[in-house]
Symmetry: C2
């Protein structure tokens, strides 16, 4: 596959021009001008390559290579939108890889048995509006108009207004998932450093983690830092420091693949010389096993309650996100593993710690997912990078997989 690396990199850069930021990076938010330009560029590319290209109601773009058995479709692709000031790889690599892979298959093997279709999904990141997976949720028929009707972007432009301005509109909610789609395979950058650390080019995802997110609000007393003896204090930072320390230590004791992050802390009044009367912090917990999440988060709640009592502070715990883990389809995972072995690809079985469109498809359609490495795990950042060799190895794995799914009986 000569020139494969170069072709992938060139296409990523070409697409990356739509929404390129002055200081590097890509900002391509849902229904923005650069988003429209990027989708149109993908459409033009698809048409040039002989795909049958079309948008759905909300702006997901599909390109199909028709098979002889045209009522069955093997779908691949990812999302076209980016975070604000994101990189060249997150999302668009999956689209570029899909088009190049299907092109390769068409040139080498001709018309497939089943339709081979690539999708450039409208939205996954939730970066413009407080809503994620708009693209894939519409494809599988679980997006609800009422969930986006009242939301607006940072400039006050409503979701509906932004959508309609680009010529798209809400989908008929009575329409479910298309019946012809038999498999979905997504390829994406890892957004973590495991593949790089283990010197692997390809990750085969077995499961996407479940998540729980909590906000913890501690209330004590704000007091003068000089005139309040230690024994008279209801110090929420002291209480929080012990809670956080124990919560994270407990997570380490449970061990991989459990991860726990306290990423946000807000202290009030947040002044050097005032004992802090309020401290809020968040907890993000992920694991591939729901039972482990439940057991661990129960321990977290107990720890918070115990420490709050000891410190005489009030603690409110709000669980505002609770997503179950999503296993990938075991049969397709097996197919991919065989493909990697036959083609001598350097792969690792792993899970995804991040959310992906694949988790929206998986409950409805047999779904699988491939990763390529992210240098230093850098993600959602102009500095995100994957070595061209690894980008090509990922496409090779995708080619082999799509061949098995679309050309074999």
């Amino acid at each position: 596959m000569e020139g494969l690396k170069e072709e992938i990199v060139r296409k990523l850069h070409d697409l990356g021009k739509f929404g390129n930021d002055p200081d590097g990076g890509v900002s391509r938010l849902l229904y923005s001008k650069s988003w429209v330009e990027a989708q149109n560029a993908v459409k033009a590319w698809l048409e040039k390559e002989g795909f049958e290209a079309r948008f759905d109601e909300v702006g997901n773009l599909f390109g199909t290579l028709i098979g002889t058995k045209s009522d069955e479709t093997i779908l691949t692709g990812s999302h076209i939108d980016t975070v604000k000031n994101g990189g060249l790889y997150d999302g668009q690599y999956g689209i570029v890889a899909g088009i190049i892979a299907i092109n390769y298959l068409k040139e080498k093997y001709g018309q497939p048995l089943r339709n081979l279709e690539v999708v450039s999904m409208a939205e996954e990141e939730g970066s413009r509006f407080p809503y994620t997976f708009w693209g894939s949720k519409n494809i599988v028929g679980i997006a609800k108009q009422k969930d986006v009707e009242t939301i607006a972007d940072f400039n006050g432009i409503s979701f509906e207004e932004a959508m309609k301005e680009t010529g798209f509109h809400f989908k008929d909610e009575s329409k479910g998932m298309r019946k012809d789609v038999k498999s979905f395979v997504e390829i994406h950058v890892e957004q973590g450093s495991i593949l790089e650390a283990e010197k692997k080019s390809v990750g085969i995802v077995q499961s996407i983690v479940g998540q729980r997110r909590f906000s913890v609000q501690l209330t004590g007393d704000s007091n003068h830092a000089g005139t309040t003896p230690m024994g008279h204090r209801r110090d929420t930072v002291y209480a929080a420091s012990q809670m956080i320390s124990e919560i994270i230590t407990m997570a380490k004791e449970v061990g991989d693949p459990l991860v726990t992050t306290v990423g946000n802390i807000e202290v009030k009044p947040n002044m050097v010389n005032v004992v802090p009367g309020k401290t809020n912090f968040t907890i993000d917990v992920r694991h591939i096993d729901k039972n482990e999440i439940v057991q661990y988060t129960n321990k977290v709640k107990n720890t918070i309650a115990t420490r709050a009592k000891e410190h005489d502070v009030e603690a409110e715990i709000d669980m505002w996100l609770d997503i179950d883990p999503v296993p990938m389809d075991a049969k397709i995972v097996k197919v991919i593993e065989t493909v990697c072995n036959v083609n001598d690809l350097n792969y690792k079985m792993m899970h995804s710690g991040a959310g992906h469109d694949a988790q929206i498809f998986a409950p409805v359609v047999p779904t699988a997912m491939l990763f390529v490495p992210s240098h230093k795990g850098i993600s959602h950042n102009p500095a995100e990078h994957t070595e061209p060799e690894d980008l090509a190895e990922g496409v090779k794995a995708l080619i082999g997989t799509l061949y098995e799914l679309a050309y074999k009986e």
Copy 2:
């Protein structure tokens, strides 16, 4: 002393009208319109009572009752400025108490041996400009023009511009402290809850605490909360939580009167789903014994260094404040104690955990300080309150003390 309580409360409310906030509280920042009005109101009151009243160069207001031995002065008073949205007691109580006390002495005992003088100091809080003790530092001759030349308020108005607009100007720096001042006695609200908790009306301050303040900057790696296994993290919130927990626990082990506060925490990027790559926090340490401060803060530095190493994060520690404890004059303290015993006042020997103008005077002039209780320790807040009975007990202690200092040989 009939009507004393009522007189104090009335005068506090009268003065509190200058800078009163729409929703309650007082905001009387240095050189503001309400500040000018308040100083002029005090001047008018002093003149009405027969004091000789005058401003110094920078706006400190003095009112003198001339003694027969007119080259010796006993000074009392406090600051007229407040924090933004402060209360009725912090600062102005010391001025009101001083005027009422001297009036009482004049009416009861006539002309004193030494001059009795009350001062309404221009500034102590540092609420408009990033500079504290402007009033007392000018009186003792340690204020430096260069220290305020480049500072401005939140509206960009320079210190000098604000001062000159009110008709004041820099003092000749070659002029030191006046030679006639033989003692300074300040009365102030405690800003803590010790007197209230112990049901005491008067505190006799033996020492004002020393302070050290630190900023700690931790640098690790910002990573994806889902894709970064616990063992791959350089999590600054985890490191900070252990440091803070240990620092405060160590302070409790050292015991009173050591106090340590972590009042400010800043996390970056401070997002629920990102392992935080930067965490900064402050440490405020106070004790009446410099050696205890040094020993304890050395332990703090060791703890931070040890934990930083364990967590593989970089730690920078910056000590940006280092003030020595200031003992009050033992002879005057003894005088006050005797006065309280003779007059059957319900008092407690204690230290001040907050800074006060008295600490600026103490190195230059024999200085002492009295406290009255602060309800619930509330300070720098419209809700600050002291019971009228306690306000009166404080004035009685001040009367007795000024009598001993100004009328006795």
